[in-house]
Symmetry: C2
Subunit: 156 residues, 2 copies
């Protein structure tokens, strides 16, 4: 990663660390930077793997610890989208809803004002104090649907 152009997420993470006198390390910068650039909701393991593939020397344990710290800091969000691995996304991303493709596994974030408005209302209706919410829509993405249609008409 070029340290000349740190992403806003890296900056915010650094600020968070400095505020409480915690060390800003090369690993933390790298992990935050990679998460900020990731568009595939990586797991701790896959994120570490790609970092190592890029030449960085980072242990899996550090990746786990750092991502956990970022979640705590409110700078990342974690979710296991129906699978068995916890996957992370950069926080601050407006996306609160996620489209999970059952075919290719790709996850796409989206945001909906109507949804945002509805959630606290639904919580309230049940005497529940809303803090945050998570919405997943499982189905088939456009690309996979198109591929299916093509395969169907062409035969295998």
């Amino acid at each position: 990663m070029a340290p000349s152009d740190p992403s806003p997420l890296v900056e915010r993470f650094r600020a968070y660390l400095r505020e409480r006198g915690l060390p800003v390390t090369a690993q933390r910068d790298l992990i935050a930077g990679t998460l900020a650039r990731a568009d595939d909701y990586p797991s701790a393991e896959s994120l570490g793997r790609s970092l190592r593939a890029g030449g960085a020397a980072i242990s899996t344990a550090t990746v786990y610890r750092t991502l956990e710290l970022m979640v705590l800091a409110g700078l990342a969000r974690a979710s296991d989208f129906g699978g068995r691995v916890r996957r992370y996304e950069a926080g601050g991303t407006a996306a609160r809803g996620h489209l999970v493709c059952g075919r290719c596994g790709r996850i796409t974030g989206f945001s909906s004002e109507a949804l945002e408005r509805m959630m606290p209302v639904l919580a309230d209706e049940h005497g529940f104090q809303h803090q945050e919410h998570r919405t997943e829509i499982h189905g088939i993405c456009r690309q996979c649907a198109g591929r299916d249609a093509a395969t169907l008409s062409a035969g295998s």
Copy 2:
């Protein structure tokens, strides 16, 4: 469990099994019956534990396999509500939304017609074929909120 009053879920599971010539076993009846009666979204392990506590001899592996089969049959739903264990609920339950209390961990299902209507629309807006959806609201349940308030005013 008294076999004299099998729950509808047990019946439907039996029917599903018979339809495809699969064995209807005592274990499967027990597991389906227990899941039908459970109101706490049990994990495979906790479900097996309570069965064994009740005197039944059922291995953990069988519980996992049976619950998985029920999900496949569309008679149960599985989700890990932000935690690291997969928890199950009887299918057919109208609930599609879940309130997850961050204090006591209790999960409460709810259904909302408005939410049901909105999901396919949201999917469509993004060129996504909607199959199913999952909505979780994380926050504090009424009981815990009340307890907090009491503690606060009384001092610890």
